[in-house]
């Protein structure tokens, strides 16, 4: 028995053997190794994790109440400026609220919008795209007609229009981004499904008696995970950008809620004199977007077994 095992090991090499092992610990170990091999993915993941941690633990991490106003210390510059204060490292805004604390709390809005928006868009978009691509025919023409119509609209104008009608609330923002982002997921899913239908493995699966639902769930969806997750991460960072854009225009969450967009909006008036009010929330947006994009890039490589081992 031991001899046989040893033989097998020689034949196949290490990587396959590793994949065979099950359990959370081995999974984490495996992911860890993949991350270590690809440092950009590691950086992306660390950045993304730091944003998640700041969102989840905001009350413990933020030194001040983000809503507490103190006009006596308003527009204090960041700590490394000449008359900055060590108590407010990123300074304070026009109402004397601590910018660092507001950035930490602001990550909550951004991540909520990004996460739930993408969740709605990707799940609905994937289902519609799957039906459209697999069933084809007239249904496909109708769905693609609507999708192309929506994609032809200038996105920001469209979103601003709906936001202006619906009014300012977190739920509205999530729903707006969730639903307006469906078409891109439909397009990508449909394209992938159409491409796959022509591939032999669908026919091969049929030839061994797989039912339609089995083909959809066991053969097509696993092939979609890679492209969809990748698209989802990029769309998530795009949503975070657009959410701050809406906030900047005063159409996102109510002004009382600390969000990066709202902070930018306030900072705009003081851009030339007190640039830090807008600069740090801006940097937070860039930081988050960078992290998510790096992570997405890495995920694309890792979720495709053909690419997973290509990198040395």
């Amino acid at each position: 028995m031991d001899d046989k095992k040893a033989n097998n090991k020689n034949v196949t090499g290490l990587m396959i053997d590793e994949e065979k092992k099950k359990g959370l610990f081995y999974f984490l170990y495996y992911v860890g190794r993949l991350l270590w091999k690809d440092k950009t993915g590691l950086v992306g993941l660390l950045i993304f994790l730091s944003v998640i941690i700041s969102a989840v633990f905001s009350p413990y991490l933020a030194p001040y109440d983000p809503l507490k106003q103190n006009l006596k210390i308003s527009k204090t510059p960041p700590a490394w400026y000449k008359n900055g204060s060590i108590h407010h490292i990123f300074g304070t805004d026009d109402l004397g609220r601590d910018i660092f604390s507001r950035i930490i709390y602001g990550s909550r809005v951004s991540l909520t919008v990004g996460f739930f928006g993408v969740l709605i868009a990707s799940s609905l978009g994937m289902i519609i795209g799957l039906v459209s691509g697999y069933v084809g025919g007239k249904l496909d023409s109708v769905i693609m007609g609507v999708v192309n119509l929506i994609l032809a609209l200038p996105y920001l104008v469209f979103v601003v229009f709906i936001a202006a009608i619906l009014g300012r609330s977190l739920l509205n923002v999530i729903l707006i981004f969730g639903f307006t982002d469906i078409p891109i997921f439909v397009r990508v899913t449909r394209g992938e499904v159409m491409k796959m239908r022509e591939e032999g493995f669908i026919e091969a699966a049929q030839s061994v008696g797989a039912t339609t639902s089995r083909i959809l769930f066991k053969h097509i969806i696993p092939n979609l995970i890679g492209p969809i997750v990748t698209l989802a991460t990029f769309e998530m960072s795009a949503m975070i950008f657009y959410e701050s854009g809406l906030g900047f225009l005063g159409l996102s969450v109510p002004p009382s809620v600390p969000s990066w967009g709202n902070m930018l909006s306030v900072g705009r008036q003081y851009l030339t004199i007190y640039p830090w009010i807008a600069a740090y929330p801006g940097l937070a947006i860039v930081y988050t977007g960078l992290g998510i994009n790096l992570l997405g890039d890495w995920l694309r490589d890792v979720l495709d077994p053909r690419l997973r081992r290509a990198k040395k």
């Binding site: 196949t12 091969a204 049929q206 030839s207 061994v208 008696g209 077994p305």
Partner: protein
């Protein structure tokens, strides 16, 4: 030897934007238990279309089965494969009839492990649980000559070489011990050494499991090594069916003769290989005369007027040609001499 499959008068058309393509015009053949039937013909002659129609794998539209029957004898029961419902045919696909595809790379799902793809039909048809299915998959991989099967279950198709992929495809096809394995040019994409290995593997499996094999190919060399009977197809019709020795020794149909003349023979010196002049017909026109007539050396006016009948010229030897073909060939030979 009992009959397994009888196909009669099969007509398949493709309704495309450019017109109706008459892909299969009156296909017929029998398959007996445990035998190997080779189907030979050039590209587009309808070999694969016929086989895919048996498992209802043709996309419809554009394909439409216009008429015909394909009776499959299953546990003493006679079922017509062409007209079974989706759920009925699913019980036969993979269970009673296995299919080996030409291009194993595209026929294997790139994101699923080999093991999962082999256990797929086991789980569907044999009602095995995951563990049993995995054990059976290991046996199967070993039986198709893949070493280190236990580890390789977790490998992905791209980690396999071309020959191994084809072996894995074969393992999938024979997983449920089917009565018929349809092999659609399984060695075309492989190099010659691997080709020989795969041929041997098929012979070995057939010996062990006793299933019938339908082997689609355009390689007459492969046919000679493997087949019991051969069917030659041209433009969607079978033109000659015969036992393998009979076909090589006594070909009757001009197309078969042309094919055999085009083969290089061992030990023959410096003779230029002959080719069959002309090109296959445009399948958009409905065939109302011999499809091969325009390329046939022995054709006369009759050939351009009527569809030739199917004539019996020996035991199990059928030709789609006019009765006087033998005399015509003789006359021509005398002339050239």
């Amino acid at each position: 030897m009992g009959k397994l499959l009888t196909v009669r008068d099969l007509v398949i058309k493709f309704y495309t934007f450019d017109g109706v393509i008459h892909a299969i015009n009156g296909m017929f053949f029998d398959l007996n238990e445990g035998e190997t039937l080779a189907i030979v013909g050039e590209s587009g002659s309808g070999k694969s279309v016929t086989m895919k129609s048996l498992l209802q794998l043709l996309p419809s539209p554009p394909a439409k089965i216009e008429s015909g029957n394909a009776y499959f004898y299953r546990n003493g029961e006679k079922v017509d494969l062409l007209y079974l419902s989706e759920s009925e045919i699913n019980k036969i696909r993979g269970k009673d009839i296995g299919f080996v595809f030409q291009d194993a790379l595209s026929a294997l799902n790139p994101v699923l492990s080999i093991g999962r793809q082999i256990t797929e039909s086991l789980e569907t048809h044999m009602e095995l649980d995951k563990k049993e299915a995995m054990e059976r998959a290991i046996e199967l991989l070993e039986s198709v000559g893949i070493t280190g099967a236990r580890q390789r279950l977790y490998a992905y198709p791209h980690q396999f070489s071309g020959g191994m992929r084809q072996r894995a495809m074969i393992a999938i096809a024979i997983a449920c011990s089917p009565k018929i394995v349809i092999a659609d040019e399984p060695t075309t994409a492989l190099d010659v050494t691997i080709q020989a290995q795969i041929l041997e593997l098929f012979k070995e499996i057939q010996k062990k499991m006793g299933m019938a094999i339908i082997w689609i190919t355009h390689d007459l060399g492969v046919v000679a090594r493997l087949a019991d009977r051969v069917m030659v197809m041209y433009a969607g019709q079978p033109v000659e069916v015969a036992p393998v020795e009979e076909l090589y020794e006594n070909p009757i149909h001009p197309y078969t003769i042309g094919l055999l003349e085009a083969l290089p023979k061992l030990g023959e010196k410096k003779k230029k290989l002959t080719s069959i002049e002309g090109t296959p017909p445009d399948m958009i026109e409905e065939p109302h005369f011999c499809q091969f007539a325009s390329r046939c050396k022995f054709a006369n006016e009759k050939c351009f007027k009527d569809n030739p009948p199917i004539i019996s010229v020996g035991t199990d030897h059928y030709v789609r040609c006019f009765e006087d073909i033998k005399e015509r060939i003789k006359v021509q030979k005398v002339k050239t001499v």
